[in-house]
Symmetry: C2
Subunit: 282 residues, 2 copies
């Protein structure tokens, strides 16, 4: 998926919402626990209920691996379902992979060729050969961890390096030369919206994937104030707050209602920033 | 597996060799390509041929994911086979995971509970909550990336931080307080043996997992000179040089021969360092 196609979707849906599919076997509504593929069935209903409000889905690979071979199968089914039914939607494998070149090539095959995901999250610690093999796939994206939303982010990401820059800034600066805003995005935690100013100084044009809205407590308006660029440039994720909005048979309807609330807030933001109509941006 | 049990194996086998199971569908000997589980069948024969020479096996998860659901199944079969037949051998899931706490708990369930691996490799970028949930499993190990053997390692791992230390040193120092030498090890690239001096200043007691012997070009004797401690403290990995020593029906025999060469070199080193006999170490 190209950057233009992504922006086209944002304009069409008045949304920059990503729904995180952190689907756990023990949080499924009771009535789904009897089929062969309960995780997939849950996802399918969530996807059917929210696809007009979201521009991306982000299955968290850990939650599928944790269910063993049947879990991996249901991850594949979920990605294939989105690909088949809603081909315009960005599918992000939230895998946070990062390894030497020959291993990275395997991960790229896994997520891009075998599963047809559009994007994969990648950890930067092992440097360029953790990233470059992914970029050999046209139309696919690396979403590199820059500044995460968890407590442990403080341990290393904010360390000051010799020239006064912090580690995440060095990573943004260096890694942005490996690709371009057309094939790389960055993860920037929403609980640190003020740091988005610094991020936007270094990478004004890249899309940012913002986790941490909802269960992790980020503020959408603040994120938009500091993170939006002229082509939106933001994908904001919400996982648990949407997919677990209700634990009964009405879970998908409740997820749609919750996603709708977020989408309407996003629509207002896009309008306020002059990104709300087609004529204002082209 | 405890540190004592690991050392016991080293003494018994006169070896600190880990065989990396980077098993690729398109590098299998022709005659294995017809069964239902060719990756597993290859691994099974490699394991049967080398188990008396190796103290650890390290399946690289990427190579199994890349084969989709059947690949994941064969990873599970491989781990279960080692667990069942050779329970004294350390099984390392080379997965390089790293995520927020609730996701890390899923990865820990996957590799420690579902698959019964002894250890998992973890990336440090997201900090303490990427590591701590793994340490809640008694007898299990986190092997944290410190200094890797690939070209991209230079991009960030060697950055100088304010007090003059490099990033990998800060990571060693900080993370070593999260666990102990009884539940944490570190990845240190063998192609940088001289840096082992610095590593040993910071963590004298931890086991180090050294990749890069063989295909990546590290030198075993140099690694031992700088990395050994009084309880060995090294696990040296070789993957491709052993498992792909031959591509015919004699592949397992050839792998055993190659593993034997490495083991004999290790035996000599252990003897030279006074770690070769039981009486010398207790």
């Amino acid at each position: 998926m190209t950057r233009d196609q992504l922006f086209e979707q944002i304009r069409k849906k008045h949304s920059f919402l990503c729904v995180g599919l952190d689907t756990e076997a023990d949080r499924l509504p009771e009535h789904l626990n009897h089929g062969e593929y309960p995780l997939f069935e849950f996802n399918r209903q969530i996807i059917d209920a929210t696809h007009s409000l979201a521009i991306a889905y982000k299955p968290n690979v850990a939650f599928y691996e944790c269910a063993g071979t049947p879990g991996w199968k249901q991850l594949e089914l979920t990605v294939a379902y989105i690909r088949d039914r809603y081909p315009d939607i960005l599918v992000i494998a939230d895998a946070k992979r990062g390894d030497i070149g020959n291993t990275t090539r395997k991960y790229a095959e896994t997520f891009f060729r075998h599963m047809s995901c559009d994007a994969v999250t990648v950890a930067p610690y092992m440097g360029s050969d953790s990233v470059l093999p992914f970029l050999e796939y046209p139309g696919k994206w690396v979403i590199l961890l820059a500044l995460t939303s968890n407590q442990g982010a403080d341990d290393f990401q904010l360390l000051h390096i010799n020239r006064g820059q912090r580690l995440f800034e060095i990573i943004l600066e260096k890694s942005s030369s490996w690709g371009s805003p057309d094939n790389m995005m960055y993860v920037v935690g929403a609980t640190r919206a003020s740091m988005l100013v610094k991020v936007r100084e270094i990478i004004p044009d890249h899309f940012l994937l913002i986790p941490g809205i909802g269960a992790q407590g980020g503020d959408l308006r603040e994120v938009a104030d500091y993170g939006l660029n002229s082509r939106c440039g933001l994908i904001v994720n919400s996982s648990r707050a949407i997919i677990y909005a209700d634990s009964t048979k009405r879970f998908a309807e409740a997820a749609r209602a919750r996603a709708g609330e977020v989408q309407r807030e996003m629509e207002g933001i896009l309008r306020d920033k002059g990104l709300g109509t087609i004529s204002s941006v082209f």
